[in-house]
């Protein structure tokens, strides 16, 4: 809709009075809020991966600490400001944060020798690398220590990869067979062999020990196998930092979470979200299109159809949590409970389908997004000129042929728009999932190499729920914040891209119909 009166000759708007300015201000304020939110997510989410310099702070009383600057706020009792440092070393300090009063700071330095180690337990270590003690008791010290550490970490990563592959592809399926009581003698032997190989590999890992020292002089002996990654941020150039940043973003996207969802990556959540959404689209597309075709092409266009149409439209406005309740009551407890009674009685009382899972979650979301698809498809169908239908019928097409050969192909962009909007809505929806199948940490992804490959009854992880969980159930929220920001940014980006695609498609659809000759 355009408003052609805007084209009327310019009037002196100076006489508009005060209200017009408040109206203009509300647009500006809304834009500012949106920009603020997106900017906050982008800066905090992406900034987290930047290998910022580590500062060594010397206080007036001679104490020293090393950490990354997080934020600076005014002191609660009025004058002065204080600064928060993320210092790591939870095993030594029992905390990873330190507040420093700016007035007490004597000196801030960035020595290039500082290392930041990411460890499997206790999180980050920030300090100096003194030496590496090899198994044979050798000590590597001096300049070559860092290079030796990097070499060892590369070797370690290769070992870990090969062990993971062995675990996933050989051991896990065999263990399952064993548990099911179906394993043959040969398989038992294979299992034993594989486990022996894992032990072998583990034993072959460099069992070196790092000798570390914090800036205030405390010593720590750290087994190398616990170290995931080592960085010397102060010694890195900008290009090197960018590369590290890129690698860390990739690790965030491709790895699993660690430390109760407060560290590591979000790959299982991405995967779970995508899988759930794909399943949902598989359910919602045919049914939504079917209902729209019925409403628009087959049903008698009377008062009843009009009311049904309004009803369907309004279901899009029913709170998502209500759909969750329906999913829990009907799918999980109702259908799932009966399925368990009939087919999985052996494993009762532990439920198989009688508890939340992938299938029920995607069905619930399909129901939730059904109105979106129906409305969008119906709009597309209604926009097709009647003459196209009559043209097809006049050539001797039956109604089915008219629908499948002329009407539906023309309505395809509209359907696609509907499905994409549905996907965008489903991807951001968390409340119903909390009732029907999301998990804070799913040990097994619902799709793997085991028959039947797609495990519809399993719980799954979800980006949105990951945010909620890390923000409200995690232990150290402050430590998890950067990851939550990054996850939120990811979710918003996914939804933004989906919506933009839908807008683009809708525009495309309009312009194509624009070329329809109007004679």
């Amino acid at each position: 809709m355009t408003a052609p009166w805007r084209r009327s000759p310019k009037r002196a708007a100076s006489g508009e009075g005060p209200w017009a300015w408040l109206a203009a201000g509300s647009v500006a304020a809304s834009l500012a809020l949106l920009a603020l939110l997106l900017g906050l997510l982008a800066v905090r989410g992406l900034g987290h991966f930047w290998p910022a310099d580590v500062a060594v702070v010397t206080l007036d009383d001679g104490r020293q600490l090393a950490g990354r600057e997080v934020k600076e706020v005014p002191l609660s009792d009025g004058d002065g400001r204080e600064r928060l440092y993320r210092t790591g070393n939870r095993d030594l300090d029992d905390a990873i944060w330190a507040w420093v009063d700016l007035d007490e700071i004597h000196e801030v330095d960035h020595p290039s020798g500082l290392v930041v180690l990411e460890r499997r337990r206790w999180g980050e270590f920030i300090g100096r690398l003194e030496a590496i003690e090899t198994e044979s008791g050798e000590r590597i010290v001096g300049e070559s220590t860092w290079l030796a550490l990097e070499r060892r970490l590369t070797a370690l990563a290769a070992h870990r990869d090969s062990i993971d592959v062995l675990r996933d592809q050989t051991i896990r399926p065999l263990v399952h067979r064993l548990e099911a009581g179906e394993a043959t003698l040969g398989e038992r032997e294979a299992l034993a062999k594989a486990q022996a190989r894992v032990h072998e590999r583990q034993a072959a890992m460099p069992a070196d020990t790092l000798v570390l020292e914090t800036v205030d002089g405390r010593r720590l002996r750290q087994p190398l196998t616990e170290v995931v990654r080592a960085l010397r941020p102060n010694a890195m150039g900008v290009t090197e930092k960018v590369v590290t940043w890129g690698r860390d973003v990739w690790r965030f996207l491709s790895e699993g979470p660690r430390a109760a969802n407060t560290a590591g990556g979000v790959w299982p959540a991405i995967f779970g979200t995508i899988l759930m959404v794909v399943l949902m689209s598989i359910f919602v597309t045919p049914f939504g299109v079917l209902a729209a075709v019925y409403l628009n092409e087959v049903a008698h266009q009377g008062r009843l159809t009009r009311w049904v149409r309004i009803g369907v439209r309004n279901l899009a406005g029913v709170p998502s949590i209500v759909y969750g309740v329906f999913g829990l009551g009907v799918f999980v407890y109702g259908i799932g409970g009966h399925l368990d009674d009939w087919f999985f009685a052996s494993s009762l009382p532990s439920p198989t389908f009688g508890t939340g899972g992938l299938l029920w979650a995607s069905l619930t979301l399909a129901l939730l997004t059904l109105p979106v698809v129906i409305v969008a498809t119906e709009e597309g169908l209604a926009r097709i000129p009647e003459s196209q239908r009559e043209g097809a019928l006049a050539l001797g097409a039956t109604r089915l042929e008219m629908l499948t050969r002329v009407v539906l192909p023309m309505a395809t962009p509209a359907m696609l728009t509907g499905v994409i909007l549905a996907v965008a809505r489903a991807a951001g929806e968390v409340a119903p999932l909390m009732l029907v199948g999301v998990a804070k940490l799913a040990p097994q992804v619902p799709l793997d190499g085991e028959f039947p490959f797609l495990h519809l009854e399993r719980k799954f992880m979800h980006l949105g729920y990951h945010i909620f969980d890390a923000a409200f159930h995690g232990g150290d929220v402050q430590a998890a914040m950067p990851l939550i920001y990054a996850t939120a940014l990811l979710l918003v980006l996914v939804i933004l891209v989906l919506n933009l695609t839908a807008i683009f498609l809708r525009h495309h659809l309009r312009s194509r119909h624009g070329t329809l000759p109007k004679y």
């Binding site: 805007r6 708007a13 759909y323 939340g356």
Partner: protein
């Protein structure tokens, strides 16, 4: 005639049968799908009914216990309480629905207080004042806001905004005081600008060039805030609130929920209201402007009366969304089932209660059914509000159509 490509009778028969079969299938499928969607209301109603006639359940539930204050152990006067699971052994569950309903409505009301002025102002500006080029870009952008997932907004509200406001309460309040007069000042200054400058800063693009002005106002506020706090509130706004108004500032409170949810529902109100305003037939607007009315007078005297129902339905749909929004309330409200009028206290909404408690409630039990009752209330409320809004909107469309507008 060169040819007669008539199909053989068998194929003709096949096509006919296939068509009939497909039509039957579409009909059955379509009705089935629609019935399945509509089944939600039926399911909730059926599950809730046993609450009121089964007498075997230990805690007796009837309309009185749900909606009126009750005598509970440890309270001298009858009170409303929602405490489904008592912490100590043998404690009775307390099922008063009113605190939840109160929380829901309070959150929605604050959200509307924030969203409605913002959304309607934005709609009025973009329908009547904004340049067409800017509007073509801005409207989709603001509508994209609608797709912002609740969990993200809730996270920012609960973990960023709440702690920030905790520290900068005075700044927040100063901003609220400074912004409106600041914008009016912008208008006054603009009217005094030379014609050349005014052409370079046209009203149609005010939404953009006001942004730096807002930044300036922000700076002014952060400079003024400590001063104001010192002059009026003895240097500590929170202590002052507690002492002189008796308001206790909870970290996560109704105001924060209102701001977050206002942000979330504002785009949908804006989009619908803007459609209604810009759908008013141009003949009406041109008529008013030809009589010498300013744009704002035109808006107030002509456009708004014509589009009033549409604007109202936009607000109603916004209210429906605010009532049912779950994640934002869950993450930003503190989830304390209080019944206070103070906007600085926490609250607990029905939707959030369902999300937290339903997975733990035993299916078929009283608690379970009560939560389903809450879901039913949400369903009925939103469905009715939306239907009303839809009816209003379709009437309005017909009216515009009669008036000859292209909407």
């Amino acid at each position: 005639m060169q040819h007669t490509p008539s199909s053989p009778p068998l194929r003709r028969h096949f096509r006919q049968t296939r068509d009939r079969l497909a039509t039957a299938l579409i009909t059955a499928g379509g009705i089935g799908v629609i019935a399945a969607v509509m089944a939600i209301g039926v399911f909730l109603a059926v599950e809730v009914v046993p609450l009121f006639w089964s007498s075997t359940d230990t805690p007796r539930i009837n309309l009185e216990t749900l909606w009126l204050p009750q005598d509970y152990e440890g309270h001298r006067t009858p009170v409303h309480r929602w405490q489904p699971a008592m912490p100590e052994e043998g404690g009775e569950s307390r099922f008063g629905m009113l605190p939840l309903v109160w929380g829901t409505l309070e959150a929605a009301a604050w959200a509307l207080v924030i969203a409605v002025p913002l959304a309607l102002g934005a709609a009025a500006h973009s329908a009547l004042f904004m340049s067409r080029r800017l509007r073509a870009r801005l409207k989709p952008t603001l509508e994209l806001m609608e797709a912002m997932p609740g969990v993200v907004v809730g996270f920012v509200a609960g973990l960023v905004l709440a702690p920030w406001l905790d520290v900068h309460l005075a700044l927040g309040m100063t901003l609220l005081i400074i912004l409106p007069p600041g914008l009016l000042l912008a208008g006054g200054l603009w009217a005094r600008l030379g014609a050349g400058l005014r052409r370079r800063l046209p009203m149609g693009w005010a939404a953009l060039w006001l942004l730096p002005w807002l930044l300036l106002l922000w700076g002014l506020s952060s400079w003024l805030a400590p001063l104001l706090e010192a002059w009026w509130f003895d240097g500590d706004l929170r202590a002052w609130l507690e002492v002189s108004l008796g308001l206790d500032y909870a970290n996560r409170n109704a105001i924060i929920v209102g701001m977050a949810m206002g942000f979330a529902v504002m785009p949908s109100i804006y989009a619908l209201a803007e459609d209604a305003l810009s759908g008013v037939p141009k003949s009406l607007v041109e008529g008013a402007e030809a009589l010498g009315a300013t744009r704002w007078q035109t808006l107030w005297k002509v456009v708004l009366p014509a589009a009033g129902p549409g604007v109202l339905s936009a607000v109603m749909i916004g209210a429906g969304r605010a009532v049912g929004e779950t994640m934002i309330v869950l993450m930003a409200s503190g989830n304390t089932a209080l019944m206070t009028a103070s906007p600085l206290d926490g609250l607990r909404s029905m939707a959030a209660s369902i999300a937290i408690e339903l997975p733990e409630a035993a299916p078929g039990g009283t608690h379970y059914r009560l939560l389903l009752l809450a879901a039913l209330l949400l369903f009925v409320f939103t469905f009715c509000v939306n239907t009303l809004a839809e009816v209003v909107r379709s009437r309005l469309r017909r009216r515009y159509h009669r008036m000859g507008g292209a909407s």
